[in-house]
């Protein structure tokens, strides 16, 4: 048994080692540097994507979101029903198509099929106005996603500008700006939305047929409220990031080189906030969708006949006993979207978090 006790080691005389004499020739540089391979050039982004791919929940969320988006884009091309269109069979209004269960046909439709016609199945059934429910859910999802997305963009832009100025300038300006943020934070948002929608209903009247008219004054007031109130969270976050980044030596180095403040903010500070911005926007979208759904549920959302997931859920309340599926479908879609975006946002935060110092 070989013992490694250094004191007990056989007093190896250097001459006793059996070595091939040739091996004592000096080694060339190529031989020495065979192992010197610099690893694949990886930008921060690629590194983060690699980590993200390893996260099963995040990948599942991406797949679900992509599926939902594909469906809402391509469904109207496949399904022949419209979202406001009352079910018609051969040009005749079908009053018997009220509140059909999924994949069932109304009497008139069954007649028509028996006579050799084809009818696309009602995947989610129909609602109490004889409209195809699947298309209503699809359009409702479109509305909710758009609202969520655009509201988040508004929040992002306002919050980013406000937060960067406050964080970069610092001192008294920062103090005042942050106190304003505190005041806005303390306002009750739901109350504000309700008040503003009432006010805007009076003030705004849109030309019928425009996008704004079809969205309704409620929706517009929602956007305005988001723009006025919800940016504060993002502003605080960005200000915090900037305060941290400002302490780094590379900002000082840029100042020493003679770069102006605008250049420093644009080229050094904001790009380093990027991952935080993306992640918090990803987490902001479900919050906006949720708020919109809530408002629609209480009747302050988009005006009829434009559906939104929340208003669909609201209408489904009445027939809950007899037609539970009408609540299940929109609620399920809300849950899927919100959950996926949250999981994706979390996954991105884990993958891109720059707190890991090399």
């Amino acid at each position: 048994m070989a013992e490694y006790d250094v004191n007990k080691m056989p007093k190896k005389s250097p001459l006793s080692v059996q070595i091939n004499l040739e091996k004592f020739e000096p080694a060339t540089d190529e031989e020495k540097h065979q192992q010197d391979v610099m690893s694949q050039s990886a930008t921060f982004f690629k590194d983060g994507m690699r980590k993200l791919r390893k996260n099963p929940l995040a990948m599942a969320s991406i797949i679900i979101l992509v599926l939902i988006i594909l469906i809402i884009i391509f469904a109207p091309m496949i399904v022949p029903y419209g979202y406001t269109e009352i079910n018609t069979v051969n040009g005749v209004r079908d009053k018997s198509a009220k509140n059909l269960a999924p994949f069932t046909y109304s009497e008139m439709e069954q007649e028509s099929i028996a006579n050799g016609g084809t009818r696309f199945p009602h995947i989610f059934g129909t609602d109490e106005q004889c409209r195809d429910y699947f298309m209503r859910v699809v359009y409702g999802t479109r509305v909710s996603l758009c609202v969520g997305f655009f509201a988040s963009i508004i929040v992002l832009i306002i919050g980013m500008i406000y937060g960067s100025i406050s964080g970069y300038v610092g001192g008294r300006t920062d103090l005042i700006m942050m106190r304003i943020v505190d005041v806005i934070y303390s306002l009750p948002d739901m109350l504000m939305v309700i008040l503003l929608s009432v006010v805007f209903k009076e003030i705004l009247s849109f030309k019928s047929g425009t996008l704004l008219a079809s969205l309704g004054s409620n929706m517009v007031s929602l956007f305005i409220v988001f723009g006025l109130l919800y940016w504060v969270g993002m502003a605080r976050l960005i200000r915090g990031q900037i305060l941290t980044i400002k302490e780094n030596d590379y900002v000082l180095a840029a100042k020493a080189v003679g770069a102006k403040s605008s250049r420093i903010i644009k080229r050094h500070i904001l790009p380093n906030c990027l991952s935080v911005i993306i992640i918090s926007t990803a987490l902001q979208i479900p919050s906006a969708i949720f708020t919109e759904s809530y408002l629609s549920f209480v009747g302050l959302g988009v005006s009829a006949p434009m559906p939104s997931l929340g208003s669909l859920a609201n209408t489904a309340r009445e027939g809950l006993q007899s037609y539970p599926y009408k609540l299940v479908f929109p609620a399920l879609v809300i849950c899927l979207i919100v959950l996926s975006l949250n999981l994706l946002g979390d996954g991105m935060r884990d993958a891109f978090d720059p707190k890991l110092k090399r």
Partner: protein, 338 residues
């Protein structure tokens, strides 16, 4: 195993430690063996990534979750502590072997008083309780040279300066009179004048209490001042070991020679430094041969193929470098020719 009649106080035999990370297995320690006797100061010197801290942590078994001792044994008074369970290790740490860390700012718990933290060790490992424990803590503070010790007992770490915090750390480590004290870069974060105070304190305490010290550092100056015996590490392996005089005045490993050439020579401060070319080794991909080979100016073909064996240079000095084998052969042939 033997209870008494052991050869060395601490004996590390062929230690291999690896960290199993997402990127692969990082072989931090690759075959380290050394002995430590009572009352001696052993210095382990190496740069970042050489494996010196990991060796110390492996002895105490306080590695991170991803770290594991993959091979070898650590014998304390003849007993193999790598085989011990967590309970036995807990009675080992603090009582038989203590450690002080580099950064005194973060090594003390900010929400507990100084007295509380010193007494924690006393309460865990001795039978002293209450006032007796407090008295012992006071005694320790006086021993490490802190003035107004009863006032300090009630203070929190943020109220103390860096030098004082390091003294408190030393007091904590020595409260139960361990046989071995491991000091992991104890003065790197301190100012030069405070560093001198702490090193002098450690030498004093060692004379008074007779414990063995393992000094892990990258500072060659500290090593020259404090240590009887020195181990030079690179790439998780021991390059060379010997007394301070042997290592500094008669280096026999290319890495040690390179290190000594790259610091200013006190006899000739303006002479141009001769750096070691290249960058420290990447521990994910340990080469087949000598770890230092890619950076070595005198590398030979055999260095690429085989890890050098440890050769005895003289009774105080061993080195693992093929250059010694080559030189000995040359001398041997020269002598044979005459």
């Amino acid at each position: 195993m033997s209870e008494n009649g052991y050869e060395h106080l601490l004996s590390v035999k062929d230690l291999h430690t690896s960290f199993f990370t997402d990127n692969g297995e990082v072989q931090a320690v690759n075959g380290v063996s050394f002995n430590l006797d009572a009352g001696k100061v052993l210095g382990i010197v190496g740069e970042s990534g050489s494996g010196k801290s990991v060796t110390a942590y492996s002895v105490m078994q306080i590695l991170a979750d991803t770290g594991k001792i993959t091979q070898g044994e650590v014998l304390y008074k003849g007993d193999n502590i790598t085989k011990w369970g967590e309970r036995q290790m807990r009675s080992f740490r603090g009582k038989c072997c203590s450690i002080i860390f580099q950064d005194p700012m973060t090594s003390l718990n900010p929400v507990f008083t100084v007295g509380n933290q010193i007494m924690e060790a006393i309460l865990l490992h001795t039978e002293k309780r209450g006032q007796a424990a407090r008295d012992r803590a006071l005694e320790m503070l006086q021993l490490v040279g802190i003035n107004e010790p009863d006032k300090r007992l009630k203070q929190y770490p943020y109220e103390l300066s860096g030098g004082m915090r390091q003294r408190v750390m030393i007091a904590m480590a020595l409260a139960c009179e361990p046989d071995v004290l491991i000091a992991d870069e104890p003065t790197t974060a301190l100012d030069v004048t405070i560093q001198a105070q702490i090193l002098e304190l450690m030498q004093d305490l060692q004379k008074k209490m007779g414990m063995a010290i393992v000094m892990v550092t990258h500072d060659l100056g500290v090593i020259a001042e404090m240590c009887d015996e020195i181990i030079v590490m690179y790439g998780g392996r021991i390059c060379e070991r010997g007394t301070a005089d042997e290592i500094f005045y008669n280096p026999k490993h290319e890495y040690t020679k390179g290190l000594l050439r790259s610091i200013p020579d006190i006899k000739n401060m303006k002479e141009r430094l001769i750096p070691i070319s290249g960058t420290p080794i990447n521990m994910l991909n340990m080469p087949k041969g000598c770890a230092f080979c890619p950076r070595c100016d005198s590398a030979m073909k055999i260095c690429l193929e085989a890890v050098p064996e440890e050769i005895r240079i003289n009774e105080n000095h061993l080195a693992s470098c093929w250059c010694n084998v080559r030189d000995a052969r040359k001398n041997g042939e020269g002598a044979a020719e005459k």
